[in-house]
């Protein structure tokens, strides 16, 4: 009888234990952490910043929110962070998990700033069907426009780029579009370097000016390939302007093989090696020839002595 009770107890324990294992995603968050609220408002600027940070630090494993295209990792695949069953959590819970990490999920406590983490949470909240109300509406509203144009002016003297975004209203007037984020990208070998700076949003005239970095290398003539585009295609479709600009620092690529060095090619051996080697060979051969000549001379010498 005792044994059966023991067995049942053991089974029960195993059951509970295995339950907690299977429920590995059941990630306990302390109550104090749950109560934290996102101190940043869900403005379109913050959401767009959050999207950028998400694409850098989260997308490689979690995929795009709501698309469920995460990495198929075993034993626990990353969660779709746009799914409603994830977003039922409070801001504080998500913040805690991002900070602490678990298993294959890194700890982002020190790798990204608090502000950036909250921006990501603001971005994820934009997929939340229940909390749409919280979206701030205090943003600028652009009139409905057609024929949206992106113009790019390059000032080579002070290395600035001026982009202008405009569209034609229903009344047929061309107006600037305000508060739209632009990306200024410089082509490099394996990707695009973002030189947009801190605040690449268009002003009330639809203008945005960006200072090109003073020390960024270009090719021999200082030319670089640039792409200027509206960051989010959702506004006006894909709008971009590619241009070759002469804003980089002219750079002459150095060929390391031009240098005379021990590790280099045969043709570029250091002078001292060539001199000592050729000198050594010449010296040895001249000694041999000297000896030979002396030996030829010997019989003659003997004759003359006779």
């Amino acid at each position: 009888m005792k044994n059966t009770i023991k067995n049942i107890a053991a089974l029960f324990l195993i059951f509970i234990f295995s339950g907690s294992l299977a429920n590995a995603q059941g990630w306990t968050v302390p109550n104090s952490a749950k109560k934290k609220q996102n101190p940043y408002e869900a403005t379109s600027k913050n959401v767009s910043t959050g999207k950028k940070i998400y694409n850098l630090h989260c997308k490689s494993c979690h995929g795009d929110p709501t698309m469920a295209n995460m990495l198929p990792l075993a034993p626990v695949a990353p969660t779709d962070l746009g799914a409603q069953n994830f977003l039922v959590q409070s801001d504080g819970e998500i913040y805690y998990k991002v900070n602490k990490g678990q298993g294959a999920m890194p700890t982002f406590e020190k790798t990204i700033s608090d502000e950036d983490k909250w921006m990501v949470i603001a971005f994820l909240r934009s997929f939340d069907k229940n909390k749409k109300v919280k979206q701030q509406v205090a943003e600028v509203k652009n009139p409905e426009v057609t024929d949206v144009k992106l113009e790019l002016n390059v000032n080579e003297a002070d290395k600035t780029l001026l982009a202008k975004l405009s569209g034609i209203t229903k009344k047929g007037k061309r107006v600037g579009l305000q508060g739209i984020e632009m990306s200024f990208l410089v082509k490099r070998s394996f990707g695009y370097l973002d030189v947009s700076g801190e605040d690449p949003y268009t002003n009330e005239k639809g203008d945005v000016a960006v200072q090109f970095p003073a020390d960024l290398p270009g090719d021999r003539e200082g030319q670089v390939n640039m792409i200027v585009k509206v960051t989010d295609d959702a506004f006006y479709g894909k709008l971009e302007e590619a241009r070759v600009v002469t804003l980089g620092v002219p750079t002459d690529p150095v060929n390391p093989l031009d240098e005379r060095a021990m590790w280099g090619t045969r043709a570029n051996a250091p002078i001292w090696i060539i001199v000592t080697f050729v000198g050594g060979v010449l010296a040895i051969w001249s000694v041999i020839f000297l000896v030979l000549f002396q030996m030829i001379k010997l019989p003659k010498l003997a004759k003359s002595k006779d």
């Binding site: 490689s60 410089v186 370097l193 590790w263």
Partner: protein, 311 residues
Amino acid sequence: MKEETSNNSRRKFLKSFGISVGAAGVVSSFSLIGAAKAATKKPAEMVNLLTQDGQLVQVDKNQLRPTVNEPLDELQKRGREGIPGKSFVMVIDLSKCRNARKCMSACQNHHQLRADQHHINVLQMQDAEHTAPYFMPKPCQHCDNPPCTKVCPVDATFKRQDGIVLIDNERCIGCRFCIAACPYSARIFQWTEPKDAEKYKDLTYNIEANVPQKKGTVSKCLFSADRLREDKLPSCVSACPNGVYYFGDRNEDAVTNGTTGETVRFSKLIEENAGYTLMEELGTKPRVYYLPPKNRAFEFNGDLLNEENLH
């Protein structure tokens, strides 16, 4: 008398010339007839093909021949020359590495290596008794003053203009001087028949990938020079799930992260994170830079074969 001989020789020349031209004509007309016959035999099956300049053409199926492999000489020549104007560098962020070993398996796949052969290896490091241990991926450092190329007696290992140190297995005699000279133990020797030797025996040797591997020669990391030619990141860099690797061109002062695709300034990355190189006191001037394991993304889990580390 003199004129006669010269006339003779001219006549002889003309005669032989005529015969040879005639013969050539006969032969060529035969071959033309042959070709025409072949063409009229089965005109039914035509195949649509795309030419190299993008034109769609129709070709008789009878005329199709298998493509000639990229000739060895061409591969060898461009492999020696390298990519002009580039200066490749790698940055390894130790704070992100959790020993997932995806870089190693991607590399072994690319270069046809067995699981125990490493062009890149993730090491468990502990510098001193009371320092914190960390994981360190270690590929070839592609030194700017490489000790290995200095000692090669047959010019098999060499440095190219884009900074990559390569090895030509067609020239290598297997003396292993370079293995002895390398302070980073970056080179391996093919003691036995390489993996899948039978499968790849007809493949043209590609100096930029060291494939197919050759028994009795030395092999090492090549920064995936064949992929760089197509503007692709090296295998290890793009395989990393944790954003450890940055790779790029020092001439452009930009490196790109293989995981996130983010491109950053090389000089800023090194400056802001106190980047360093391995054994700089030897004067080898490595092209692989390390960022110290500060503010780690993962807690160190010392067990190398821990299941949790391996996904």
